[in-house]
């Protein structure tokens, strides 16, 4: 074996550091907090600490071909804990994925399918843009399609891919449309013109595609007149809040939990129908840990009569990720194949330990992931997964009662 050389390694780290918001990875002191904090670190050939160490030693090639490159699920635990404030999650990982693909390494097969969907249809689900408004079919409140009729609105709702196309999420979208209407705000959507915000594209390492999307979306948004952008997707919130401004695109954006928490007093008189259930809340990573917004979703749940809110052992800053971020949504097979496990399976077990009837979520990925996990763990029918929007809609009398907890 040749002696290790560090030629060029530090320059790569310096370059990666300059492209991220955090401190330079050159400052890594190899404490290993990231590796041991990572919910999948035990299964990675190179957890973040070793990625940095290998790159610094000049072994970039060695890490770019490793399956570890595709095992980060974007939970931000390492970034938030890093004692040297290095932005690992949305700095180091996407940068290495980008370089990995540029070096000719193929991403895992299941992700390649997603890539094809993205390039072909502009969304991860491979659906036609013409179906963007399918979720609103037969809805009992009017939906203003700003792509057809430009009008100033209070709220421009970026519906997002899963809430537009995925049947389970479409239920939530319809409930959200009713709540927005009940609040008396004027609101609209971009209809067939809406495109992916680009968060997952960026986390996949497709920085170029992301930049194209920023450009296209900015053009679309700049044509519209609105007070606030609202999204149901924490990942989209993170992108619009933190990644877009890096490209000069700044918009007032809120995740729906933030938007509603500000209007809680307006909602409260309408929250009359009790939801008699013990509820535990799963903090999503992007709005929760990364943006430290923990109180808004809890305030919403506690405002619902009948709800008894209980906490999981790991909550708020310390919550365990569902495994769906950073591309994880499309990488379960790869992660399990390389010694990991589905974090949603682990997390639903933690939720079940609280004795809750309902696991409340506020991220489109989580509904699908946790309902699936409930089946795997034999919790189906005992632990129901509901978006906060659904519970609010029930209490507001805007939605059919979901299958009642037993």
């Amino acid at each position: 074996m040749n002696p290790e050389t560090s030629d060029g390694g530090l320059a790569v780290l310096e370059e990666i550091g300059k492209a991220s918001d955090g401190a330079s990875p050159l400052g890594c002191m190899q404490c290993g907090l990231c590796a041991a904090s990572c919910p999948l670190g035990y299964a990675m050939e190179f957890p973040p600490r070793k990625l940095i160490l290998q790159v610094a030693a000049g072994n970039l090639d060695r890490v770019l071909g490793s399956p570890a490159i595709w095992m980060c699920v974007g939970c931000y635990t390492c970034s938030l804990r890093c004692p040297r404030d290095i932005e690992l999650t949305d700095g180091l990982w996407p940068a290495l994925r980008d370089r990995s693909m540029q070096a000719g390494h193929q991403p895992p097969a299941e992700l390649q399918e997603t890539f094809q969907n993205l390039f072909k249809y502009g969304n991860t689900l491979g659906k036609s843009p013409r179906q963007r408004l399918d979720w609103a079919r037969g809805l009992d409140v009017p939906v203003l399609d700003l792509s057809k009729e430009r009008r100033p609105v209070d709220v421009l709702w970026l519906v997002g891919c899963y809430p537009s196309y995925y049947p389970r999420n479409q239920v939530v979208s319809r409930a959200w449309a009713r709540i927005l209407t009940r609040l008396g705000v004027s609101w609209g959507v971009l209809g067939a013109k809406e495109k992916s915000v680009g968060e997952c594209e960026r986390m996949f390492g497709e920085e170029g595609l992301f930049e194209t999307l920023v450009e296209q979306n900015s053009k679309l948004l700049n044509e519209q007149e609105f007070q606030t952008l609202v999204t149901l997707d924490p990942h989209a919130y993170r992108a619009l809040h933190a990644f877009y401004p890096r490209h000069g695109a700044w918009y007032p954006v809120q995740h729906y939990t933030m938007f509603l928490a500000e209007r809680l007093e307006q909602l409260r008189p309408g929250l009359v129908k009790p939801v008699e259930a013990t509820v535990t809340y799963h903090d999503n990573c992007c709005v929760g840990r990364r943006c430290q917004c923990f109180d808004a979703p809890r305030a919403l749940l506690e405002a619902i009569p009948g709800v008894k809110l209980v906490e999981m052992q790991r909550n708020r800053d310390n919550a365990l990720c569902c495994g769906g971020g950073g591309g994880g949504m499309w990488l379960d097979g790869h992660i399990v194949a390389h010694g990991g496990h589905r974090l949603s399976d682990e997390r639903i077990g933690q939720a079940a330990e609280t004795g809750a009837d309902i696991l409340a979520v506020s991220c489109p990925y989580e509904l699908a992931r946790f309902e699936d996990a409930a089946k795997v763990k034999g919790l189906e029918g005992r632990l129901h997964v509901r978006d906060i929007i659904e519970l609010l809609a029930v209490s507001l009398g805007l939605e059919e009662v979901p299958a009642e907890p037993s």
Binding site: M29, C31, G32, A36, R49, R81
Partner: protein, 661 residues
């Protein structure tokens, strides 16, 4: 100055080579001949080292032989040699304030390699200095008398040491301590590293010496409320909390504690970090100084509710030392110097959710474990968990709150060594397996590395990695520590019964208030700022106020004691001098121009300006003024003026700069 006879000006200009520091970049010969032709310049010379004795002699001889009445030295920063040339001028019979320096080293030759640029800029600096010095006036040196007493604030090991050193030198010392007893953190420890001396055995003799010393007035349960005045003359107000026990009458028999109607101690004892309990009348620890109990007004039935059988009063008997009607009092003192030794507090690890402190009972801070190990502590020195069982496996987490930009970016310096000490003591007392999880082991002190080696030899595990999670292993209180063993290259899970968090040292919670009270500054991390990190490590921005110990930065006992003695020596140097010279560049108010608008008063960072209510004008105390010029710039009517910074002087200097740039 207006009315000054400019024709009589005879300015001597001296350009220093500073070896090659200046001459290597600036053409000093050309600069000198150019300067010789400037108005009022009687003579110009250049010399290899102006600060040398021959250089100074040159100035002196020229003043006498050539009747020079102004001197300009173009050399290094005035911070370095202005006093040198002022003294040389004075020795030759010239007023020392008729000297001006042009800094052509730090501001010229050291900041460019371009010889032409350097020359032009040197010309500008020199012209500015020449024009400025022409406007200088002779000023009188001012001195103030010094109060011979000193105040020491904080009765930990730093304050104790500083007070004893000053008192032994025959000075009167007032030692103020916020808690009921002196001793500070050191009194809480069981053993001290690396020698494993019993902390109490080496501390309590010093505490007793404080109590018995005729030159020390000890004020415990007290805090400094305000400080006025300046170096040599501080007026200090000290607030004394009611102890409800008369310190003159009490003999420290502690019978009142026994007699208290609470037969069982049931309130958390802060000295034991809440692990032990106390009664409403209590002493923090057996060797407390003064050995006088204190009554907590919140838990004492008589004080809180006015109805108690007062077993304490009965136990005290004829001495009648218990006084339920004591009130808070303010005492006032005048001192010449102040030493601030207010110490540190430990980092609260409950803000780090992944270590589970405050959530899992078997997670302890290092300070809590110090109390458990201490024979005078809540378990009489037995290391047991909250359920009374002896831990078989103990994890020690290093760098909790230290070396972490989310909390404190700095290294707390003492944690590695105290963690090693705790590892040793835990093993000695329980035989438990001990796992030290560290980022780097830092042992750069005398005997420290040897101690590390000794603890290794005792069979303590060392794992290089920062612990990421502490989670319950089962329902029985056992814990799992998750850590990346970075040397092994794999992530490990260690099952332990007890986790000890080696918490950071951080500034006291009220450090910012204390800073304001004493007119000193804090560095970015909140510790008190020394005047210079290398050359004035115990001085502060306030000339008569010194700092020592962990209030200035995390440090161990040996460093604290050394620094305390250094601060005592500095304080002594001021007090013993009897008088002190003031900087001449102070501000003053031209009474006729002052409108009494008070704009300047709140702006002064040194509280040097007050209002003469009778004359309705502002007045500046020259002893307090530091010459910052804030009031001069702010005064709307131009009444605030400053010696060495008159408008004429500043304008002349600017003209000199501009004309030659």
């Amino acid at each position: 100055m207006i009315g000054q006879d400019r024709s009589a000006l005879r300015i001597g200009v001296y350009v220093c080579h500073c070896g090659t520091n200046i001459a290597g970049v600036v053409d000093v010969e050309a600069l000198t001949s150019w300067a010789a032709g400037l108005p009022h310049v009687a003579l110009a010379r250049h010399y290899k080292y102006m600060c040398s004795d021959p250089g100074q002699e040159l100035v002196k001889r020229d003043i006498q032989e050539h009747n020079l009445n102004r001197i300009v030295v173009a050399a290094c920063s005035p911070n370095l040699h202005e006093p040198t040339f002022r003294r040389a001028a004075e020795n030759a019979g010239l007023n020392r304030f008729l000297v001006q320096m042009a800094n052509i080293r730090e501001q010229v030759s050291w900041v460019t390699d371009d010889h032409h640029e350097a020359y032009v800029k040197a010309q500008a600096h020199l012209a500015a200095a020449i024009r400025r010095v022409a406007m200088h006036e002779p000023l009188q040196r001012q001195f103030v008398q010094i109060r011979p007493q000193a105040l020491v604030v904080g009765g930990g090991i730093a304050g104790i040491q500083a007070a004893l050193t000053l008192a032994d030198a025959g000075k009167d010392v007032i030692l103020v301590e916020r808690e009921p007893s002196i001793g500070g953190h050191m009194a809480m420890f069981d053993k001290t590293f690396p020698t494993l001396d019993c902390a109490a055995c080496i501390l309590t003799p010093k505490m007793t010496a404080v109590k018995l010393h005729p030159n020390i007035r000890l004020l415990t349960y007290s805090s400094v409320e305000s400080v006025e005045g300046s170096v040599g003359n501080y007026h200090v107000k000290i607030r004394r909390k009611p102890r409800y026990i008369n310190e003159e009458l009490c003999v420290g028999c502690m019978l009142c504690i026994e007699g208290c109607v609470f037969t069982r101690a049931r309130f958390p004892n802060p000295f034991d970090q809440g692990l032990g309990t106390r009664k409403p009348v209590w002493v923090p620890f057996a060797q407390a100084v003064p050995p006088i109990p204190v009554i907590d007004p919140e838990t004492c039935l008589e004080i809180a509710r006015g109805k108690c059988q007062k077993g304490c009063v009965e136990a005290c008997g004829e001495r009648s030392a218990i006084e339920f009607d004591q009130q808070e009092q303010v005492e006032e003192y005048d001192v010449g110097a102040i030493i601030v030794t207010t110490g540190f507090r430990t980092f609260d690890p409950s803000v780090i959710p992944y270590y589970g402190y405050g959530k899992y009972p078997n997670v302890y801070t290092s300070l809590e474990v110090e109390r458990l190990l201490n024979a005078g502590g809540p378990t009489a020195g037995k290391l047991v968990l909250r359920d009374g069982s002896v831990p078989r496996r103990v994890g020690i987490v290093h760098c909790v709150g230290s070396r972490d930009k989310n909390h404190h970016a700095y290294c707390s310096r003492v944690c590695c060594m105290y963690a090693l000490k705790l590892a040793h003591l835990v093993r000695e007392k329980t035989g438990a397996e001990v796992y030290n999880c560290y980022i780097d082991i830092r042992t750069p002190g005398k005997g420290f590395e040897e101690f590390y080696n000794r603890v290794q030899d005792e069979g303590v595990h060392f794992i290089r990695g920062k612990v990421a999670d502490v989670t319950p292993a089962d329902g029985n209180g056992h814990l799992t520590m998750t850590v990346d063993d970075t040397l092994l290259g794999s992530i490990r899970q260690l099952d332990v019964d007890m986790v000890i968090l080696a918490v950071a040292l951080e500034p006291q919670g009220d450090a910012n208030d204390v800073r304001r009270t004493f007119g000193i500054s804090c560095s970015a991390e909140g510790f008190f700022l020394e005047k210079h990190p290398k050359l004035a490590p115990v001085n502060t921005a306030n000339d008569g106020v010194f700092v020592a110990g962990a209030c200035q930065g995390a440090k161990d006992i040996p460093d604290t004691v050394a620094q305390a003695d250094a601060a005592a020596a500095k304080a002594l140097a001021i007090i013993d001098a009897g008088q002190i010279e003031l900087e001449p560049n102070t501000a003053w108010i031209e009474a006729a121009m002052c409108s009494g608008c008070k704009t300047c008063i709140p702006l002064c960072p040194y509280q040097a300006i007050s209002r003469d209510e009778e004359r309705a004008i502002a007045v500046i105390d020259p002893a307090l003024c530091k010459g910052c010029g804030t009031c001069v710039a702010a005064c709307p009517s131009g009444a605030a003026m400053q010696h060495l910074f008159s408008d004429e002087q500043v304008h002349a200097e600017l003209e000199g700069l501009m004309l030659h740039l």
